[in-house]
Structure formats: structure tokens, C-alpha cells
């Protein structure tokens, strides 16, 4: 079935370094969502991208949606220890009357060394 692939699976960075996680699909996506899960916690919705080439920023976080709407990225500038967690992308790959059938990428676990 259709999948949403996310890389890398893990990333260790030194505090202050930048971090990027990538999400790819073989088919065009209607939209893409990003979630953050802190260690021991639950995923929390960060943002949604809908338009081709869209770029959105939340403080040090920059989210991009590819021109072809098949890929997306999350970039964190100057990581802090509070950024630790797993970042998931999620996309609606199948829609029916049941609502948004989100498929999640495998997640990128970010670890930040102080």
C-alpha cells in the first residue's frame, strides 16, 4: 500500500546545530501534517501544509511542502534540548466518508547533546 517514508530514523546533534527531517511519498499528497512526540508523551500537532511549495515557520522551525506535493521537510535552526523528541509527518493518503485516514511516517527521533 501507499506509504509515507521519513528519514532519517535517528539524528544526534550538538545543541546549537541545525536539524532536518524529510518526508517522501510516491504519489501526490493533498496535504501534509507534522507532529512532535516528546519522550514518554503523545504526538502533538504542529502544523499543516496544503499548497504546493508552501513554507511555514514557527519560531526556529521551518516547514516546507514540495512543489510536486510529494515531499516535505521540517528544519530546526539552532536546536535546543527542548527540541528532543520524535517528529512525525502524516499525510492523507486515502479519504472516504470515514474522514481523514492519516498515514504516519516512521518518525525521526531527535536527540540533542547539551
Amino acid at each position: 500500500g501507499q506509504q509515507v517514508m521519513q528519514i532519517p530514523q535517528y539524528q544526534h546533534v550538538q545543541e546549537g546545530e541545525d536539524f532536518t527531517t524529510y518526508c517522501n511519498s510516491s504519489t501526490t499528497l493533498s496535504n501534509i501534517q507534522w507532529y512532535k512526540q516528546r519522550p514518554g508523551g503523545h504526538p502533538v500537532f504542529l502544523i499543516q501544509l496544503v499548497k504546493s511549495g508552501e513554507v511555514k515557520k514557527q519560531k526556529r522551525l521551518t516547514f516546507q511542502f514540495g512543489e510536486a506535493k510529494k515531499n516535505s521537510s521540517l528544519h530546526i535552526t539552532a536546536t535546543q534540548t527542548t527540541d528532543v523528541g520524535t517528529y512525525f509527518c502524516a499525510a492523507v493518503v486515502r479519504f472516504n466518508n470515514a474522514g481523514n485516514m492519516l498515514t504516519f511516517g516512521g518518525g525521526t527521533r531527535l536527540m540533542v547533546k547539551p
Binding site: 493533498s30 496535504n31 501534517q33 507532529y35 508523551g41 503523545h42 504526538p43 502533538v44 500537532f45 499543516q48 496544503v50 512525525f88 502524516a90 492523507v92 479519504f95 466518508n97 470515514a98 474522514g99 481523514n100 485516514m101 492519516l102 498515514t103 504516519f104 511516517g105 516512521g106 518518525g107 527521533r109
Partner: protein, 113 residues
């Protein structure tokens, strides 16, 4: 504002025992409801989703079942747990539109021994 409650937070159950996890949502009507499972260090696997009372769809064949006896109540059950059922179970809700984000509960960490 909308809130989602999920309990218990942790659970240790022996193999072969039954399971019942409950999730309730407040502050919204007719939400879409979901059960996800997350194995340790892994991604999110959709187990069940529901668009209304007694309307349940299963994504993955397994020995689990789900029920929605009330509009804002979603229950995950098993008659006999397997070791492989261990994991982090997350309930979530969303509004009805296709691009609505998911709002997760705090999760239940289930260990089957």
C-alpha cells in the same frame, strides 16, 4: 475547548487476560475517533477508526476489537491478550473534514507478561 481523556495510563496484564481501554472526548460533537498503537521506538499504526456510534472500521486484523457505544466514547478491547499486544495505545479524535488534525490522548502503556 475540546479535551480527550484516556485511561488507564499504564497497565500490566498477563497473557490470555482480557483488555478494556477507554477514551472519551469532551467539548465536541460527532468526532472521528481513532485507536493507534505504537511499539517501542516505532511509528504509529492505525488500528480502528469510527465516524459515528456503532460505526467501526478495522485497519489491521488482530485479536483486538473496538466499540463506540456513545458519540464521544471509544473503547478498545481484547478477549485474550497476546505478548505481541504490548505497546503504547493512543486514542485520538478529529473533526469531520479530511484535513483536520488529530488530537491525541495521553496514551496507555500496556505490558503483557
Amino acid at each position: 475547548s475540546q479535551t480527550i481523556h484516556q485511561w488507564p495510563a499504564t497497565l500490566v496484564q498477563p497473557v490470555g487476560s482480557p483488555l478494556s481501554l477507554e477514551c472519551t472526548v469532551e467539548g465536541t460533537s460527532n468526532p472521528n475517533l481513532y485507536w493507534y498503537r505504537q511499539a517501542a521506538g516505532r511509528g504509529l499504526q492505525l488500528l480502528f477508526y469510527s465516524i459515528g456510534i456503532d460505526q467501526i472500521s478495522s485497519e489491521v486484523p488482530q485479536n483486538l476489537s473496538a466499540s463506540r457505544p456513545q458519540d464521544r466514547q471509544f473503547i478498545l478491547s481484547s478477549k485474550k491478550l497476546l505478548l505481541s499486544d504490548s505497546g503504547f495505545y493512543l486514542c485520538a479524535w478529529s473533526a469531520g473534514s479530511y484535513n483536520s488534525p488529530l488530537h491525541f490522548g495521553n496514551g496507555t502503556r500496556l505490558t503483557v507478561t
